[in-house]
Symmetry: C3
Subunit: 480 residues, 3 copies
């Protein structure tokens, strides 16, 4: 029965392009023009250790594909497979007896639930990675799972399968990591001290010393900040000095950007005395939730001020309620697939920051969203006006074919492509990077092909825009 | 002039499929594979009397198609046709002199405004029902309206046109009704006592004894609850006992689910003493609007608790401001096409419930929305993580081709299809049920065809997903 | 390399139609049936002086296309080109030394940034205007910019290039302007006094005497209102009388509509004494921001009351935070491309107005939105029920191909096309009017073509709907 449909499935080279034959032909030509461009990876979460250690190898297929990937384990969890059965470590003090340590079993469990990923970006990434990295062309099933495991494991052990060699094979031109303000950047130092020429740079992410001033963990982070900065942080001005000092250090280590997460894009300018009063309450363990909200809001403006002075590109990632599942957070910790978006308001919340810095000549602020309804309504009009603003690519739940198509449809008419910053993979899964960039490039070229066949752009424009979206915009936006 | 376009209109068998010939061919093949599957109708509003009375016949074409259908009469009302002219009864005490009782006249008025439904789902349903049930292939016009009326009326009077016979003709496998907590389920009992083997089950919908504790009507409902439960409800714990007793009765009568409507998905856990204090104020007629809001929020959690114990699948339908038109509500009562959606927040509002029951092993909570902006932003991430959650199909204003296409585009990438529950028709119009399911199946198959021609899924996956969306998911989700 | 794509670019006659050949063929036929219909322009911002002065000529290409167009200059501003360099005048007291007065230089700067408009509606409008009005078929580049400037300037100076002659050439049937409540309508009087038969009518827009009662500027406007009405406005009832008197004057001058902008659609009914108390605080310069918000809300209901009596169609344009960029507002004034939308709630905010007038027999209220998430969720259900409501076309940032496609997809299934009001160009750029209407007609016909090839509508319906969307609905809705 199935064979009658096979004829309508595209060649692999045409995947993710429109079913319309003219649009597909245009998309293919555009994609060919950008397929071999180097990869710019200006925002991600790859561990720099992978490059500091010249002989690093991935431990197992489960370690490579499953255990660190919240897209994967949260889907199985949603269908009743426990996180322990998927090999996730529990927090100290929690019962660890049910944590599966046999990676073959974890892989088998995954294979038995692989159908859950039908029609999802995770399914596409996995399929394409198995194909491109491991030459696997069949679909994963419970019965072939163990033989695939063997094939992947063999390849992981091969001498050419180190992150450094993959970096070159993938044609990465530059890759940035995300690092706490208190990070010593020792792995980055090791890379710089080595004879390897890959461009791995840190990104300054001070969330832990900025957010949550009402939480005990914040005070511990301030202690760490004292230690790494060598500054005795007893008041707000010392705190600012310590942050500036850390930013300088990150810049020296190659950073070109900072990154900031917040539940909302709320910004507010506090007077120095207000800021210090809240800061002192934080040090004394007496800050309130309202204090924390206002302090984060103030520090976003302060970070914009610092960026206007030191030139680090500022990124803002708002909109996720982190660790929404209280039980999972207690037992397994943060980042376990339970970060849930909510509705955002950029228009009013960013105004205090923009009133100060919106037209600054040497500041760039890249905005990301998890609320698609803000894309056409707020982000595109804001970035289509304010000189400092650019719009980041579809993020997280929107790093998908529909997410990208919506992004093009919702942002570009008002902001134009030149107020956007191309793609970033935002991943900790290094091996998935070429797959993700290829998906973006395919979907971008298909969008442009649609504009061309509908008479909105001509061929010259299509080629130029494809190059910009695939490569040029990201490189320029982050100064890489 | 028109004839030049006729050639581009599809065969009837291909309606609602893409204009792209490859996608259409795939959609047709997929649809053929599911077209004859039985219908699972796990949520709707058909009157069980239709099946309790073995000889029930529909009164007239106007009674079948127009008078009970808020999709129809609100559209004519929006264009200046009074509700009286459409045969809607007024409340006691209101002037009934202008209520049209001649069903032929009502039908004629409808035919004169039939163009209002161009490009609407109501227009498609009506057209397809006229075709499939009555063999009418021409378009309804003012001039053919009376002859169509005759044809339909003749058929309605035919011996085979009883709901029981239609149930079999439609290949319904199971159908649930929606019933107040205080309902005696006498019609369901009559069906069980009969020799007819159709599977008609009740659904426990306690809104009237849960919502509006600040309204006089609530107290009347509690009196009814006392009467049917045989429990003297003088405090909150007796109230809970009465509800549990009613749930047990519904379960005995075949119910597998409950249903809950609320203006928002706000949940909150009250202490027993707080809950009882509000309850006592309700009994005394002294509850406030804030009391009502909190009591509903608390009772949603309490209903989840009961479902976790008795296994009834819980459904939540939030987001409609009911009876928005004050004048229409006063004169004609509830459900007159004036229920208007508003923006929702599931992420924060559901957290108290999810903190208690989000990972429960034997609870299932199906969420519906009237705010499409929550689909990708909140529902898909929530259902893609929490084991208890599933996402209900596009509801009400979104039970349409665009609504379904948006649903597929917005939900599936993050949640996967297996965190959704297939289709339900949610209708009180029994005769429209096959039409609605066919529309869903067509649109679902067309979506899958699009994924296939774009290389996102293969043929095996497409057939499996088509079956799940058309039949399997609904059956499994509701245990039918 | 590029030539391989040329073959896939459509004929100019097929631009903005689907790439699907069947849909395109249908769209072309439908478009041909409406392409030559007269233009109804029921809402816009063209200066009536253009028609009062029989010999008016546009000053230069920069004056025609660039300097007054906030779509254009905000885009260049967002990429670092100052507003001064684009020829925008600064406010009194600001440094005017850098304002470019050489229109050739402004044009050149624009040409050097023309790529910013790739894939934007502004890019399409400009391209089509250059083609249709000036016969320019090549793309604007820095190197051809000056020769194009010459060609355009020559044509602008030609005797047939007056607004009155263009009005006829464009086949405009009626065009309305937007005028302050205090406007003397002298240009409209001059048109009426002339021998020219063009139909140019005013629209009553009282924002400046209604909004901002807490601002000094409001009091100045009230003084103006006293002067033009001849009424000594010392209390709320005199204020109402003055407004009613102005509305009568506008009606006499041909107005058929009013227009109202507000940050939100919030409505509220104040008692006469409350209204007068706020009004008195406003006169005394002591009104608060809360007063201003409530007064606007009340006045929207009051304007609905007046419309129900004098028959002027009421338009409501909510949702923009005006003059978001504080620095640009201070230096350049209002309307400089820094008006940013935010999330709206029509459902609750309009209820007080609808409670009073929702089912009125002789009132029409047309709603516009800048928050697309309200289209399917709120506007379509509201307009699909309330007799007084109609939905205005996609506005501002949504006056684009995607905006129109979204509008059709989000509004029509629930509201039907007959609860919408066709198109309006909403522009101050008179020469762009045919281009904008043609874009709308093309996109509307393509939408209908999609419905036809998918079997949702037949050919008769498609032709009727195309005519309504292109012409009939706007004419009927505004009584033009």
């Amino acid at each position: 029965m199935n064979s009658s449909l096979r004829q309508f499935m595209p060649e692999r080279a045409d995947r993710y392009f429109s079913g319309n034959s003219a649009q597909r032909a245009v998309a293919r030509t555009l994609f060919e023009s950008v397929a071999d461009l180097p990869l710019i990876c200006p925002h991600g979460h790859v561990d720099p250790l992978l490059f500091a250690d010249a002989t690093y190898h991935f431990e197992s297929p489960a370690e490579l594909f499953l255990i660190p990937d919240h897209y994967v384990f949260r889907m199985l969890y949603s269908q009743g497979v426990s996180l322990e059965a998927q090999g996730l470590a529990v927090n100290e003090g929690e019962d660890a007896s049910k944590v599966e340590s046999n990676h073959r079993k974890i892989w088998q469990t995954f294979a038995e639930h692989y159908h859950l990923f039908q029609g999802t970006p995770t399914g596409l990434w996995l399929r394409d990675e198995l194909h491109d990295l491991f030459g696997i062309t069949e679909k994963l099933t419970p019965s072939n799972a163990q033989s695939f495991y063997d094939r992947i494991a063999d390849r992981l052990a091969a001498p050419e399968f180190t992150p450094r060699k993959l970096y070159e094979q993938f044609r990465v031109e530059a890759l940035t990591t995300t690092d706490a303000a208190t990070d010593t950047l020792e792995h980055h130092q090791a890379i710089r001290d080595s004879d390897w020429s890959g461009r791995i740079y840190p990104t300054f992410r001070p969330d832990k010393v900025v957010n949550g001033i009402d939480q005990p963990a914040w005070k511990e982070q301030i202690d760490l900040l004292c230690a790494v900065s060598g500054i005795d942080i007893r008041d707000y001005s010392a705190y600012i000095s310590a942050l500036e000092s850390r930013r300088d250090f990150f810049s020296e280590m190659g950073a070109t950007a900072t990154d900031h997460a917040a539940e909302t894009p709320f910004t507010e300018v506090l007077s120095p005395s207000e800021a210090d009063a809240i800061f002192q309450r934080g040090l004394a363990g007496k800050a309130s939730a309202a204090d924390a909200r206002r302090f984060t809001a103030h520090m976003l403006v302060e970070m914009a001020r610092m960026s206007s002075e030191d030139g680090l590109v500022m990124q803002l990632h708002p909109g996720s309620i982190r660790n929404h599942n209280a039980e999972v957070f207690r037992r397994f910790g943060a980042d376990k697939g339970a970060d849930i978006p909510h509705a955002l308001d950029f228009t009013r919340n960013l105004k205090p920051l923009l009133d100060r810095f919106g037209s600054h000549r040497s500041l760039r602020l890249i905005l990301f969203t998890l609320d698609e309804s803000t894309s056409a309504r707020e982000l595109a009009p804001l970035a289509g006006h304010y000189p400092i603003l650019r719009i980041g690519p579809p993020w997280w739940f929107y790093d998908s074919i529909n997410g990208m198509q919506n992004f093009f449809a919702q942002v570009m008419e008002t902001a134009g492509i030149y107020n956007t910053v191309g793609f970033n993979d935002d991943t900790r899964a290094f091996a998935s990077i070429p797959t993700r960039h290829e998906l973006w490039r395919r979907v971008a070229c298909d969008w442009l092909a649609g504009l061309l066949v509908e008479g909105q752009i001509d061929d010259d424009e299509a080629f130029a825009m494809a190059h910009a979206l695939a490569y040029g915009l990201a490189k320029e936006a982050y100064g890489l």
